[in-house]
Amino acid sequence: MIDKKHIGMDLGTMTVDVERGRLRFFAKAIGQTDPVYTDLDAAQAAGHPDLPVPPTFFFSLELESRDGFGYLETMGVDLRQLLHGEQRFTYHRVAHAGERLTLHTRITDITSKKGGAMELITRATTVTDENGELVAESRGLMVVRNPEVSA
């Protein structure tokens, strides 16, 4: 069982530079065909100062900013038993390549279901820009299966 003492755990504040090359690689990996996400001219023609950060890429920035799934290992979670349960983003504005963003993540809840056969970890992240303005918020629910526990 995951120790409930980790509720409220502050995973810290990390600063990441959004790189055009990373955004193009992400676009390729998701089969993106809209040139706004890969071609600077197309992005600028659509009113963007640079390539836009696509809606789910903040999750990738989270992984980059806190050494991947290291926090789960700290909690003793076997990564092989991890499933993503839910993910939600709230957007305050579009972010772009060339920006330096600051991500601050906390563990906001840990609960168990089915007599401990499933444990749920809720994680909340704020994304702010260099002026300290909120760009986006991300909230994720990770599910840890404990197959040795029979429900």
Binding site: F25, F26, K28, A29, I30, G31, Q32, D34, V36, A46, G47, P52, P54, P55, T56, F59, S60, L63, E64, G68, F69, D78, L79, R80, Q81, L82, L83, H84, G85, E86, Q87, R88, F89, T90, Y91, R93, V94, R139, P147
Partner: protein
């Protein structure tokens, strides 16, 4: 396709997004591109040691596909909120289709907004993601 508030009503369907079949290269590319290096999605030995028959797709890959459905319909600066529940694993060789339907309209902060109900469905009918997004119209 117009997304002006004049042309959007409850029941309006977004143009569906049909994806290619997911193969091992898709998963390897997304592992690198997304920064999710969990080997369960790219290393069959790791997947088998956890009791799976084979590797399976990253949930965030399907969420990114659904994101494409949304931004194909409205420019991204109009997306206010986007969330999903992952309801089933996406196995190798599955072929996902993303669909969305407007379920409500409201005026919030002086702008007309539509709430879209979102689904990712595999060719065999399995629903792998259920989600919703709120977008500004006009």
């Amino acid at each position: 396709m117009s997304t002006s508030s004049r042309d959007v009503a409850v029941g309006t369907e977004l143009p569906p997004l049909e994806l290619e079949k997911i193969n091992r290269a898709t998963l390897a590319l997304f592992a690198g591109g997304s920064g999710d290096h969990n080997p369960i999605h790219i290393d069959i030995d790791n997947a088998r040691s956890a009791g799976y028959d084979d590797v399976f797709a990253q949930g965030m890959l399907s969420m990114a596909y659904l994101g494409r459905l949304i931004t194909n319909w409205v420019p991204q600066e109009r997306v206010r909120e986007y969330g999903v529940r992952f309801t089933a694993i996406t196995p190798l060789f599955a072929q996902p289709t993303c669909t969305g339907t407007v379920v409500s309209l409201a005026t919030v902060d002086g702008e007309q907004r539509a709430t879209i109900e979102l689904l990712v469905t595999l060719a065999d009918g399995t629903v792998t993601l259920r989600g919703d997004a709120v977008v500004a119209l006009d």
